[in-house]
């Protein structure tokens, strides 16, 4: 039962990263694209971003129902970065919608665009920082260490910062690749291809920097990684999908292009889960919060699982239908 719930939690997190990440990434890509691309981006994400966003809500609900201690500890210690994630979520969603529906095209339009783009950077950045803090293990629940050590030091460091930059690059990369098939003109398509390759390079580079930053902060991530066969396998998948993605860009095979980037991102996340599992939050004193020591009573897990299974039976066909209607070209 617990394993199934963890699986659904991980799945919604992966789907949020791929789909929600692409929506945030679109705002980042827009910063580097022109005025004309703004329309393509608007059209591409308007019908789906709300549905994509719900994967995050689902993950949060699973977290506080099944692993209440993880949820409450996270929100206590990482209050500040999570608050900033939220600010990004609020402004991205509303500014995007305002821009999409406002009739005027004057100054207000520029303000919405600015808010939309700025918040598209903030959320991935602080989401990455939050995850970094969960990995690094500076989290403490000992109030006597003082405000800075309890509420700031766990996330304000080189490693977490690098995690933030990595997530931002990753989101931009997903978006750029997804946008290739949304392009209206040849020139536009070329631009997304260029941005895809650039952001792919940026993601890979910052990925290496994440490991270096971990080393810098005294957290030896490398051996953990090489001790897990699953992580190594995932890394291989990530590497193999690079030429595949380039190939599908070249042959204009939109479906397989999207599929291969989704697999690539999933592999990155599974590679991370594999070294982290079953720990959710690494704690300074070594008493890590894991799936096992924070799980809710069996009665709760059972009811949650029923709700999730019924929910997914309803949601998945609807979700597929949504994407068929809007993402398959006639």
């Amino acid at each position: 039962m617990l394993v199934l719930i963890i699986l659904i939690l991980a799945t919604s997190f992966v789907l949020y990263t791929v789909l929600g990440g692409a929506d945030f990434g679109a705002g980042i890509i827009e910063t580097f694209a022109g005025k004309r691309e703004e329309r393509t981006i608007s059209r591409a994400i308007a019908p789906v971003w709300e549905a994509n966003h719900v994967w995050l809500i689902l993950a949060v609900v699973i977290l506080f129902t099944a692993f209440p201690l993880v949820y409450s500890s996270l929100s206590l210690v990482l209050h500040i970065p999570l608050m900033l994630v939220l600010i990004g979520i609020i402004f991205r969603g509303s500014a995007f919608t305002f821009r999409h529906y406002d009739i005027g095209h004057g100054r207000s339009h520029r303000y919405y665009s600015f808010l939309f783009k700025a918040s598209s950077f903030i959320t991935p950045m602080f989401l990455g920082i939050t995850l970094g803090a969960m990995i690094l293990g500076r989290v403490t629940f000992d109030q006597s260490v003082g405000f800075y050590n309890m509420f700031i030091a766990p996330w304000l460091n080189v490693f977490c910062f690098m995690m933030g930059v990595f997530s931002t690059c990753l989101f931009a990369y997903i978006a750029a690749v997804f946008l290739i098939s949304e392009a209206v003109t040849k020139i536009e398509r070329k631009m997304y291809v260029r941005l895809s390759i650039k952001s792919m390079a940026a993601t890979m580079t910052t990925g290496i920097f994440v490991f270096l930053a971990a080393q810098w902060e005294g957290h030896n991530l490398m051996p953990e990684f090489f001790n897990s066969p699953l992580s190594i396998a995932c890394m291989a998948i990530v590497a193999v999908s690079v030429p595949l993605i380039l190939h599908f860009i070249h042959t204009r095979n939109d479906f397989f292009l999207r599929l291969s980037i989704a697999i690539q991102v999933t592999a990155i996340l599974i590679g991370w889960f594999a070294i982290q599992y079953p720990v959710m939050i690494h704690v300074q004193n070594g008493q890590h919060l894991t799936f096992l020591n924070t799980q809710a009573p069996a009665a709760t897990l059972k009811q949650l699982l029923i709700a999730l299974i019924v929910g997914l039976i309803l949601v998945i066909p609807a979700f597929v239908f949504l994407f068929r209607v809007f993402k398959v070209k006639e």
């Binding site: 709300e50 506080f64 929100s75 979520i89 609020i90 969603g93 305002f98």
Partner: protein, 438 residues
Amino acid sequence: MDDLVAARLQMAMSLGFHIVFSCIGMTMPVLMAFSEWRWLRTGKQVYLDVTKAWSKGVAIFFAVGAVSGTVLSFELGLLWPEFMKHAGPIIGMPFSWEGTAFFVEAIALGIFLYGWNRLNKWVHWMSGVVVGISGVLSGIFVVAANSWMNSPTGFDWVNGKAENIDPVKAMFNDAWLSQSIHMVLAAFVATSFAVAGVHAYLLLKNRANTFHHEAVRTALIFGAVAAILQPFSGDFSAKDVAKRQPAKMAAMEALYKTSKPASLVIGGLPNDKEQRVDYAIHVPKLLSFLAHGDFNAEVTGLDQIPVDERPPVLIPHIAFQIMVACGTLLAMAGIMYLLFSWKWQHILFKKWWLTFIAFTTPLGFIAVEAGWTVTEVGRQPWIIYGVMRTKDAVSSMPGLQYSFFLITAVYVLLTFILVWLMRRQINTLPQFYETAKP
């Protein structure tokens, strides 16, 4: 600012903000689906125009509702980690059902808003119906979670920990039904009258506009029925509260002393020091009847509640008066509307009637906010009634006021943009539909 006060204000503001959008999200899909159905049946362009005009507004409100709801799902932990640590496994079930319902709602709304030219007409209409049903269901699930805080069941509280958790029992607690009915009806009253009010206001400028007439009519059908049913649901809720939460009842009625029979206090200013209500109208025996269905029943006053378990009186009492006043006025408007459209249709075009409906625009939402205040402030000092105090649930992070200031600034800004944007949307409407002749 005290951290507890800051956290409570932030939560109150976030909920007060979100509740407006969730009411709209529950009601508008039903209104739009109804209007689209009439278009499908009659083929009259005006119904399609109404549906499409509404859908633009709904898209904007729904987006803000979705993000402000996300904020709440995080704030439960950011502000009340101690509460969520214990309550999460107990009320997680309604939240997970809510998640499902909201998911379906978001997907169906995407299809409804953007699928006009891509789908069969009836499939499109069905997507609207699905949005409506799942919207109402998600509202009910969230209220069920809240009602558990008022009527906590489905667990044993042993040494500061919840044991023997039964999530099903917790969800279907004693308060869930009365609270859910009251909230869903409130959403329909508030949204329908607000929509009707705006269109009535525009009709005052151009009274021959069929578009606005149809919009007012569609909205008021739902608004009137809900507004007439609401006092009955309110009575059901009040009797329930009197039984389960006598302290809340005493606070909202400003009943300082246990009385048999108890008179109903209308209006007035509760005076905690003197333990009486100044400037109020007292109706003998009525409270006994309203609370227990018997003119001579005893109603528990605050004197029966231990001093450290008493809720504040001033805020719940005044909020309750505001809610009842708005609700009563809207129920009367509802009766009048049904009466006029049955017998005296010409009145519906009269200036005074349209002015009156335009005046009712904010009343439903004022009632919603006031009612929410009654139930939340009236539960104090408890976060889980009788089990956990609000002050024991708050985050131990110092400086919560900065969180509060930040979120307040964001929501104030959003409110300004929204008002400005909606005004702009509405002002451009007549250009599109000017041609419509009655």
